[in-house]
Amino acid sequence: MKKSLLLATLLSSLLVGCSSTEIQESMGLNAPFPELTSQTAELSPAAMDELASNPLLTERSIYFGFNKFDIKSEYTDMLAAHAEFISKHNVAVAIHGNADFRGSHEYNLSLGQKRSVSVSDALSGLGIGNNNVETVSYGEEYANQECTGSACDQDRRADIVYVGE
């Protein structure tokens, strides 16, 4: 506030016999805000067909034990089929790690990532280069936020997602 205006305010206050502090609208919170949308690209029709027809490729989820990151042997064939598909079509794949809702959002993001890295390491062992694989974590963000007990088991998993499918 300019001094002259302040003085004027004080003078006018004098006339009415009382000083007053003006409480004003705080901060510029009337700014427009962005509405967000997602983006997509496309896989080739041949690759799409194979993804839909091969039963090993329709399996996309690897489940983990409580606070665990190691991949159980039951997923060996499934991961081998995905590795073959990735090199055959030279496609990019994202491994989405997930965690159940318990604990902080950020720490769960790191836990999901650790599971994602586990799957990526397994694919790497099957000859898939790092350029084809992105490890991403969704943490607890798509998990059941209201589960209790074993209902939360399904959220401790990594999903194989092809870019552009």
Binding site: L14, I23, G28, A94, G103, S104
Partner: protein, 437 residues
């Protein structure tokens, strides 16, 4: 919030002194010495009488109730029930001190609000019952929309006068609302949940909102690109900058005390690691590298250290490291099955975090000198703890088994847990904005 409040206050004090000859015994920056007399020794008993108001607005709550809720939320005051009192004074002119003393009130707030068209003017006084004198006597005015802002400002001044610390009742919070699986909103509101306004809407999750210490910007993590990326958004213009969209995850933004940098967490193709980046997205630098998880960075108020959570010892625990150069990493927490989500009190003396024990997550503080730990909440699923800018309260989210997440405050002395009502939707993450003038 208010232009040149300090200067204005000084003018007001001089003005009142000269013109109306009400002598204020205390200059604006002095602290009222409180003599605690027995009983509930840790809380100041204060009577806040209904103001003499000509404005009927039930939506906004009565002014004396806004003030009482503010002061009680801090855990340092107990507001006395004045409903049985007849002949409520609306100024400090005719106070029957023995009556208020009999009610065990140590302080009394009285006031009168008048409206002329859109303008609201509130004249109020804080009175010391034991010393039988007026401590503060002021007048605030503004548009009718500023009704609650005026009440919060009164609370702030009373709080500062009686505790010696600035009040935070005019500050704002930011939180994420999950309205449905495909509808998330980042909201700014008054600290008590009133005056909500969306600043981001998205079909994908938003986490980790953090208000810059200078109050101008917010950083947050959005999943709109089908993976977590970090945006910094200007609250005045609404413009935003994608500051981190590196391969893998981009998350956990933490503002440096000077608002110029962010500590962030990136993964590339491996586990979460901490980096420092300028708030415009330039000058990325890795803080340290290990094979284990390092995440949830938090700056010490002097900007010299970063506290973080890590599973390098098995379960998550909190560690600290110097910001400049490679230095020794020191473990800070030792109790419980796990400790995570660290942040520091404004004076740097207390570590605030979540402690995990028997499957429950609770809010706890650790004195960094004595290493004594105080658990402030009971769980089972408390999260997202952050100090108020004066360090006297903590904002956090909580939920019971199988229920939706809600938001509330707990006083740092652990005496007062108060919900913040922002609607029936799930609240996922929250943060507290700085003190603004």
């Amino acid at each position: 919030m208010i232009f040149n409040m300090k200067i204005m206050q000084n003018y007001i004090y001089r003005f009142i002194f000269l013109v109306t000859l009400i002598i204020l015994s205390f200059p604006s920056n002095s602290i009222e010495v409180i003599e605690i007399l027995g009983g509930k020794a840790s809380q100041i008993p204060i009577a806040i009488t209904p103001f003499n108001e000509d404005l009927k607005n039930d939506d906004l709550g009565k002014m004396h109730k806004v003030i009482a809720n503010d002061l009680e939320r801090s855990g340092l005051f107990s507001a006395l029930d004045t409903s049985g009192i007849s002949n409520i004074p609306d100024s400090d002119m005719y106070i029957n001190f023995s009556n208020w003393s009999a009610l065990q009130a140590q302080f009394l707030i009285v006031g009168k609000s008048t409206t002329i068209r859109d303008r609201l003017t509130t004249r109020w006084s804080l009175i010391d019952i034991y010393k039988e004198k007026t401590v503060l006597s002021m007048e605030f005015s503004g548009s009718k929309k500023q009704y609650r802002a005026i009440a919060h400002k009164i609370s702030d001044l009373v709080y500062e006068k009686l505790t010696g610390s600035p009040g935070v009742f005019h500050t704002r919070i930011i939180f994420v609302k999950k309205k449905s699986d495909k509808n998330y909103g980042l909201y700014v509101s008054d600290y008590d949940g009133f005056n909500q306004r969306a600043v981001v809407n998205s079909s994908q999750p938003i986490i980790s909102p953090r208000w810059s210490p200078d109050g101008k910007k917010i950083a947050y993590v959005s999943f709109e690109k089908k993976k977590p990326v970090i945006y910094v958004q200007d609250l005045t213009t609404g413009k935003r900058v994608l500051v981190a969209n590196f391969k893998g995850n981009n998350s956990a933004p933490a503002w440096s005390p000077d608002s110029k940098k962010l500590a962030i967490v990136l993964t590339y193709s491996a586990n979460s690691q901490i980096y420092i980046i300028n708030s415009d997205g330039s000058g990325i630098k890795q803080l340290m590298r290990t094979r284990s998880i390092n995440t949830e960075p938090a700056w010490s108020p002097d900007g010299k250290e970063i506290f973080f959570s890590s599973d390098r010892g098995g379960n998550p625990q909190i560690y600290k490291v110097n910001v400049d150069g490679v230095s020794e990493v020191n473990r800070v927490t030792f109790e419980g099955k796990g400790n995570l989500s660290p942040s520091l009190s404004p004076d740097g003396k207390l570590l605030l975090f979540l402690t995990q024990e028997n499957g429950k997550f609770r809010v706890a503080v650790q004195n960094l000198t004595s290493n004594q730990v105080l658990k402030l909440t009971k769980g089972p699923h408390d999260e997202s703890p952050i100090f108020s800018p004066n360090g006297h309260m903590i904002l956090f989210t909580y939920k019971d088994y199988g229920k939706k997440t809600k938001i509330g405050t707990v006083s740092v002395n652990g005496l007062k847990v108060t919900p913040i009502r922002v609607g029936s939707e799930t609240i996922q993450e929250s943060s507290w904005g700085p003190i603004t003038n």
